[in-house]
């Protein structure tokens, strides 16, 4: 009898255990199916609207980066002609593309449109023509990882800018930062991975929180085109100068050691460095980074719409969204917080403009010295001082948020830039006197962009004409090519709802 009861009890217990196990498995699977996608998103799917079918709220907030109505003291999403605002830039970049055209960047939505329209990319008349390499496309959108996957990384960099007008048509979006399988953050650009390798770090060890900044650091950094990369000679290979470290001095030493220069200044003939936008590097030296705050925490905070929460993909100045960005941690009034930011920026700008003034003078004085017959030997030291001073100016200016992200570091950088530039001018005064010129060098009138561009000898009429012709003749043709190519890709529905 006892055994029979045990037999029955065991059956019941095992049966119940089985039920429980089945319930656990079922509930685990529920989690997987809770999210019902509409389409299958392929690896390297470049079309943002395709991702948008599965993630409509994120996609629609991304579309808001098209808004250009918000301007801050020195940032925002409005298009601003920086050369017009400060014509000294034209002289500082004489002989380099930025003296032709330099606008405040708009939202990610315009990444492709703006690079098509800038004078810096010229007016190529064929796919082999034009002043810029394909490398310039690297950060412009999710078509780039697609192309790199198809062609190979070096092969992509090797092409011309014009060659890719018909290829890169989707602006910075989903596939640049996300894995289509599970929407995890991922790095799609080789330069950041290579820079981590060069520093002896493994990017795969990054935490999720670090990734919320690193996906931004794929592009918002200082970089250069390395044409001497072993095995890839002659290819303008996108590289970050981080081997010695990420500070302004470390990167300067890196460039000096390899005798790299982006261009030779047209007036002073100094071997110049162009700082791109070392936003990530300066952010890391600031107090927010020190407290573990990521880029996304402020630039894309949580948002709720109709009772649903999601990450706001309207990447923008946090000053346009103080309530959800700053005030999550800082319980002060919004106006107070904004004026705190502006205070930092205005103070940095005050020093920066002083440095600009001295830099312009040192270029023009160096030009005068050449005119009076100075020798290479006499100029060498002076030109290095100018190079270093301008690198420091550019480093602090090019990353618009830097004076907020890290005000103390930027003050240090600007201060050291001032010292270098003054050093150059002292040496120049002595040299000019030696050459028999012992009075102030006359300064040209550069009060407007046009006057400054004329002074450095730019034929703006011709440049504008070339661009217009490109926009009228080549661009529509290449965009049509892209449209036809994309129309063949199609979309794979997986919905169970219809």
């Amino acid at each position: 009898m006892k055994n029979k009861v045990l037999f029955v009890v065991t059956i019941i217990v095992v049966f119940l255990l089985g039920l429980l196990a089945s319930s656990v498995i079922n509930r685990k699977n529920e989690a997987k199916y809770q999210f019902a996608p509409q389409v299958n998103i392929g690896e390297n799917e470049p079309r943002n609207e395709e991702w948008g079918k599965n993630y409509p709220k994120e996609y629609q907030s991304f579309l808001q980066t098209a808004d250009t109505s918000f301007a801050t003291y020195q940032g925002g999403s409005a298009k601003r002609d920086m050369l017009e605002e400060d014509p000294r830039f034209v002289v500082l970049w004489a002989g380099y593309g930025f003296s032709k055209d330099y606008n405040q960047g708009r939202g990610h939505f315009y990444a492709v449109e703006d690079i098509q329209n800038t004078l810096r990319t010229g007016g190529p008349e064929s796919k082999e023509d034009g002043p810029m390499p394909a490398t310039c496309w690297t950060c412009k959108g999710p078509d780039v990882p697609r192309l790199m996957n198809e062609k190979g990384v070096a092969e992509f960099y090797k092409g011309t800018w014009a060659e890719n007008v018909s290829e890169v048509v989707n602006p910075i979006g989903c596939a640049d930062c996300h894995d289509p399988e599970n929407m995890k953050l991922r790095i799609t650009r080789p330069a950041l991975v290579e820079a981590f390798d060069a520093m002896g770090k493994d990017i795969n060890k990054a935490t999720h929180q670090e990734m919320r900044s690193l996906v931004c650091a794929q592009c918002h950094v200082e970089y250069y085109f390395d044409k001497k990369k072993p095995g890839k000679e002659g290819v303008p290979y996108l590289t970050f100068p981080w081997k010695n470290g990420m500070s302004v001095d470390d990167m300067e030493k890196y460039y000096d050691d390899m005798e790299f220069s982006d261009w030779t200044h047209k007036i002073s003939r100094a071997p110049m460095l162009k700082a791109q936008h070392p936003g990530y590097e300066t952010f890391l030296t600031g107090v927010h980074a020190d407290r573990g705050v990521s880029c996304a925490d402020c630039h894309m905070p949580y948002k709720s719409e109709g009772g649903q929460k999601f990450t706001d993909h309207h990447l923008q100045s946090p000053l346009n969204n103080v309530a959800n960005s700053c005030q999550v941690c800082h319980r002060e009034d919004a106006d107070k917080l904004i004026s705190n930011v502006y205070d930092r920026q205005k103070k940095a700008a005050e020093t920066r403009v002083k440095l600009e003034d001295i830099l312009v003078k040192s270029h023009i004085e160096a030009g005068k010295a050449w005119e009076l017959g100075a020798t290479e030997e006499q100029m060498k030291d002076i030109l290095m001082d100018i190079r270093h001073a301008q690198w420091r100016w550019d480093f602090s200016a090019a990353s618009h948020g830097a004076s907020f992200h890290s005000p103390v570091e930027i003050a240090r950088v600007l201060g050291s830039g001032l010292a270098e530039a003054q050093e150059a001018r002292v040496k120049l005064a002595r040299l000019l006197a030696t050459l028999g010129f012992n009075k102030p060098v006359p300064m040209p009138d550069i009060s407007t962009k046009e006057k400054a561009q004329e002074y450095i000898g730019l034929d703006m009429e011709k440049l504008n004409q070339q661009k217009e012709s490109f926009k009228k003749n080549q661009l529509p043709k290449w965009l049509e090519e892209a449209r036809i190519r994309e129309s063949k890709i199609g979309s794979e529905k997986v919905s169970m709802n219809d």
Partner: protein, 200 residues
Amino acid sequence: MLKIINKILPKKDTGWRSFAVFAIAALLGLGFFLMKEAEVVSYLSDNPQACVNCHNMTPMYNSWNHSSHREWASCNDCHVPQDNIFNSYYFKAKDGLYHASVFTARAEPDVIFMQPASQEVVQNNCVRCHVQQVTQTKYDGFIEGHRDNRTERQCWSCHKEVPHGTVHGMSSVRYNIAPLPTDQEKMVIPEWLEKEMESK
């Protein structure tokens, strides 16, 4: 103990004996399988991802992960007593079994509220870390009535949004995918890029 086992277990030479051994093995095997499927071991840790084993916790996990508490406090730091290890695990087990029963019975509400016992734990944990803010006399003058509020009310009756925000419930996170504790793959670069980097 042995006595009881001997009492229940059938006599050695009967056919029932082999059946009993088999039945016990089946029970144990099924039990282990269940433990593995339910990720039982993960509940012993402080890893917040253990809490998203149960997908009902996705909104809580994600809202915490986007809050400033993320840097300092895990789920356990607030929701489990931290006075001693026995109390911690006792409370955790009690709470966990309650959660598991509700979840298995599919009786979970859309919006989850804390039980009174939990509320007490959380209140104590708020004070545990923020003791300086809530007991310093200078703050009593600075924020009117802070002392009374501290002793007579719960912290979150004013600080409603800490740390989970103001929007609650499963329906609030439709497009939000929580990291699965079983899905801990660390690669952050796509395969094609990994291959390309290796080939160099």
